[in-house]
Symmetry: C2
Subunit: 245 residues, 2 copies
Amino acid sequence: MHAPQTRRERERLSRRNAILEAAQKEFADKGYAQAKLEDIAKRAEFGKGTLYNYFKGGKQGMLFASFDQLFDDSEALIHESFSNDIMGHKSFREVFYDYTLSCLTFYIDRKELFLILVKEAHLMCFGDDQKHAQYFRDRRDRLIDALSVPVRRAMDAGFLRTMDPLAVAHMILGNIEGIQIHAFLEGELQQKESESFAPEKAAHFLTTFLLDGLANKNHNHPNEVHLSDNAPHDSSHVQSYSDGI
Amino acid sequence: MHAPQTRRERERLSRRNAILEAAQKEFADKGYAQAKLEDIAKRAEFGKGTLYNYFKGGKQGMLFASFDQLFDDSEALIHESFSNDIMGHKSFREVFYDYTLSCLTFYIDRKELFLILVKEAHLMCFGDDQKHAQYFRDRRDRLIDALSVPVRRAMDAGFLRTMDPLAVAHMILGNIEGIQIHAFLEGELQQKESESFAPEKAAHFLTTFLLDGLANKNHNHPNEVHLSDNAPHDSSHVQSYSDGI
DNA sequence: TCGAAAAGTGACCAGTCAGTCACATTTATT
DNA sequence: AATAAATGTGACTGACTGGTCACTTTTCGA
């Protein structure tokens, strides 16, 4: 049984969170290497030495606390989105769309955490420190394992093609992240608030793209005509995710 | 008319290239921020101050020379892969597969350049220096513009769904890069030379995934059954790209 | 051969910054 | 109220590194 928190414990946790938030903003703004403890401390309204009271690992401790947070929440989102209850009441296409939308919204709400991950993950995965690389591998594997469960169920039910579920989960996650990165980049460079990113449209585009593919149905045959032939045109139109940008 | 190079010019160029190669290895190994001019100079077998003879921009000049190289070659690869001649003689699916395979092979051959891009691009795109961010945006746009031409042609011919060609080009490039990153990560972490990455399998997987999507053909209907229904199973099997890993 | 130009060198320097810790302040306990 | 424990501080320090430049070496042209 977990003992109730004392006021002191709650205050300590609150101060730790304030420092962590300040760190996340600085990491997201500047990148980890360029972010300075002086700035983080100032932003959190503490002295620089105090940061070590709350994060034994110092700067790096703050970074990995941030990654933990993002990965934990991403895993929870997968479990919630593909719960047995939901999967039993909605089509996989619907559940997939909802998950994609939730995921994009999740990233938008946690833009800073997401940007930290985007900026630092590859640096570390391909870096010299094997402990860090392994950390990302492990956390990534957990996400992919979680997503591969509903993917496998959809394959067993005949909805999805029979492919390696892990590979499919990997492609799904990668595409969601990719489109979110693109959206943030567009937002950064154009700075048009009136044309903000529409996660619904993006989720719709992704669902169609990932489930149905790019090829037109009339052309999914082994004996395909060349582009120079006068093939019949299918004018099926998919609304573009970039319409709202 | 370009004057023939003198021996001195050729030697100067050769030395510049040696320095650039050494820089690329260090950037790929360590990341740009952690790579040191001292190490680059030693690797190229020059004194540190000599580097500025060949790269006025110093460390950063080497980095951007590397990016230019990678982007130039990537653009050339798109133009070659989707030339009018090739497009007139092969199906789009075949051309697409060939391009995907060429691209993967290209990245494997230029692993260091690719890793530099992977490590640094997002840091810079989301960084404070607008000039750098703009550089990547411009180069990325050029790649996407180049690829959107054949994509648009395939749409006009009815092979691909009608979507925003730029968005589609973006997804194609993103997925190729994503799968290559994954392959390098797997290779880094497992270090099994006997199970090296098979670009052919990956290209095949990507072609199927991107053109045909994940959904089984029997399920591409508006009135989809739920997963709990006893839907007929289509046992179509797609060989996984991860089989060779 | 000599002087000028080109090329090369690495010690030096200024600037940077994460982590440390002696000291100070605040809070809790007796 | 006095003492102990908890919390906070920022000057200091050691390590680091890109860029500079006085000096050296090599190459080239007359």
